[in-house]
Symmetry: C2
Subunit: 329 residues, 2 copies
DNA sequence: TAAGCGGTTGCAAATATTTGCGTGATCCGG
DNA sequence: CCGGATCACGCAAATATTTGCAACCGCTTA
């Protein structure tokens, strides 16, 4: 009775083949016909058999803001691997300079009928307008997980690194080394993890005057840190390793040394940070565990399990290397 | 019934041919007629057939072997950006641990009806079996470009960094610094760029006994370099920056210093190599130019232009930093 | 294991668009 | 007013796209 696809076909007055082609986004269907079929699909509330969808696509979108910061490729590697083990394939979507917006990617992924989407370090920078595509995902009930990218108001499961702990242990480390004038180099003002670190910093007695916001790049870190160095900080906590590297450069440019004159702490513990000069003391995000958790949450959703839209917080840990030292007497 | 173009033609009172010419901006239509057709087109709300109009998905697959080596994310960024400027979207496909093979990705991409595929540092490791999927691409006539990944026998356009020049300038640099016992740390034996470097090394009088093959990772470099160090080399040329970093570590583990006792040269000039300890002397691949060229070649193919299946060779350049020095007296 | 149920796909017919070529109209310079 | 050149345009052939038919595939059920 439920010649489901056939039913739609009859309603529109086309063959089942055509409906099938529309369903699969195949070429060879005129725009007008496609439109008509899509409408009928909607009207009749067609739902493709679950097993077929899974069988064919098994694609998962992985949306990252950039690839410059080594933490993102690393994360992609973890998530891609974890997905592969579950029989999914990751499609990486990265914002590029002239390029494609996050919303565009969402449409694209939707059109490609992905089984789910993982966002990492996503679109924090927009207040209102940009949430449309998240809502779209929500409406369509597409399994979604957010990593380190709090989106208020929408209840997606989230996996994050605990920024409060991160800021606390960084600050505690510098304090223990005797540093009093501690500064902070953060990402953009509306970047949620940065905001959380700032709050913790303040709560822990940090001087809000010694906080600089910048964009997430080595050069940004350099510029922001230069301002802090001019104000006489002896320790700097950075919101990413790249920013920390920029900070090191700024300190040296000012004729001082790390950690001799200024101690620097990074965040992420991305690859190669033990090869830098000096080896960077940093707060490690457990990206391996986080990536796996994100994938588990996603797969659970895909398997129609009920997943609470909580934020799973992962504990970072301090990795002490050579960029921090006791404050100069 | 919907003789769409014919309808417009009738309304204006011209032939379909004329309407077609207007549509495609072809010459041979008077201004008045063109105007009239354009108006009718507007009035009747004519839409060109899908594939002709704005093209469908405009997806391009970008297949990379890994993301650990920072050169690959960097390359992805360049290619993704260049593609975006041309109105394409890159779908990144990366081999992951448990994961998906290159052949699987090809099938996937084919199924997603991508407009083309760019391979970088692809599947060199297999001699025979693994070429099936390349042939598949060839048969289907899917636009394809290979970067640093010579595949013999199949004529795809290729963009590569000139490994001969790379090896020559690295060797010349060390020789100029007085090094006699120069070793080499290369990738797997069947990795074409490594093989080319090896040949050049030999041709330039390098000692084949001082060449080690390993996998492309810091640890691999460490292990391979340890063997060379034991044999008393004073200079090491590496096939990637990661290998070079591993080599530095091996030298230090042996109780010696870089560049004091052993000089090390990397290859790629990936990000952050000026932040390492010591800052790495390396042979820079012009990935920006290469990425752009690859995209240009791809887009030309997509636009049905005839693209010669040549290998475009890009000249690398030596970036001298602090990991090489005059040989110890 | 066969039969049935969706759904997908190869193929060829139907339909639509583009293009080469020829015709007639128009425009000029003698 | 007469060629000759040029141009716009239609005809029809060439080419490309859309669509339905029917065979087929993978899965479930009898």
């Amino acid at each position: 009775m439920t010649r489901r696809l056939a039913e739609v076909a009859k309603k529109v007055g086309v063959s089942e083949a055509t409906v099938s082609r529309v369903l699969n986004g195949k070429p060879g269907v005129s725009e007008a016909t496609r439109e008509a079929v899509l409408t009928a699909l909607d009207v009749l509330g067609y739902e493709r058999p679950t097993q077929l969808r899974g069988d064919r696509a098994r694609l998962v979108g992985l949306v990252l803001p950039e690839l410059q910061n080594p933490i993102f490729p690393a994360f992609a590697e973890v998530v891609g691997g974890a997905l592969a083990q579950q029989g999914f394939t990751a499609v990486l979507c990265t914002r590029t300079v002239g390029g494609v917006s996050e919303a565009d990617y969402v449409h694209l992924l939707l059109q490609q009928q992905v089984s789910g989407v993982v966002f990492a370090g996503g679109l924090y920078a927009q207040a209102d307008a940009a949430h449309g595509h998240y809502e779209l995902l929500h409406e369509r009930g597409l399994p979604t997980v957010l990593v380190n990218a709090a989106v208020e108001r929408l209840d997606f499961p989230q996996v994050s690194c605990d920024d409060v702990v991160a800021a606390e242990i960084a600050l505690a480390h510098l304090r223990a080394l005797g540093h009093e004038r501690v500064g902070m180099v953060l990402g953009p003002k509306d970047h949620v993890p940065s905001r959380r670190k700032l709050e913790t910093f303040r709560a822990g007695g940090g001087d809000p005057e010694l906080v600089e916001h910048t964009m997430f790049s080595l050069e940004g870190g350099h510029a922001a840190a230069a301002r802090l160095v001019a104000r006489g900080v002896t320790g700097v906590i950075c919101a990413s390793d790249l920013l920390a590297l920029g900070t090191v450069r700024a300190v040296r440019r000012a004729g001082m040394s790390v950690p001799g004159d200024v101690s620097v702490i990074g965040f992420d513990d991305s690859a190669l940070m033990n090869c830098t000069d000096p080896a960077l003391t940093t707060v490690r995000q457990p990206i391996d565990a986080m990536g796996r958790a994100a994938v588990d949450l996603l797969v659970a959703q895909i398997d129609k399990a009920v997943v609470p839209a909580d934020e799973l917080l992962y504990e970072p840990e301090l990795v002490v290397r050579a960029s921090t030292a006791r404050v100069r007497a």
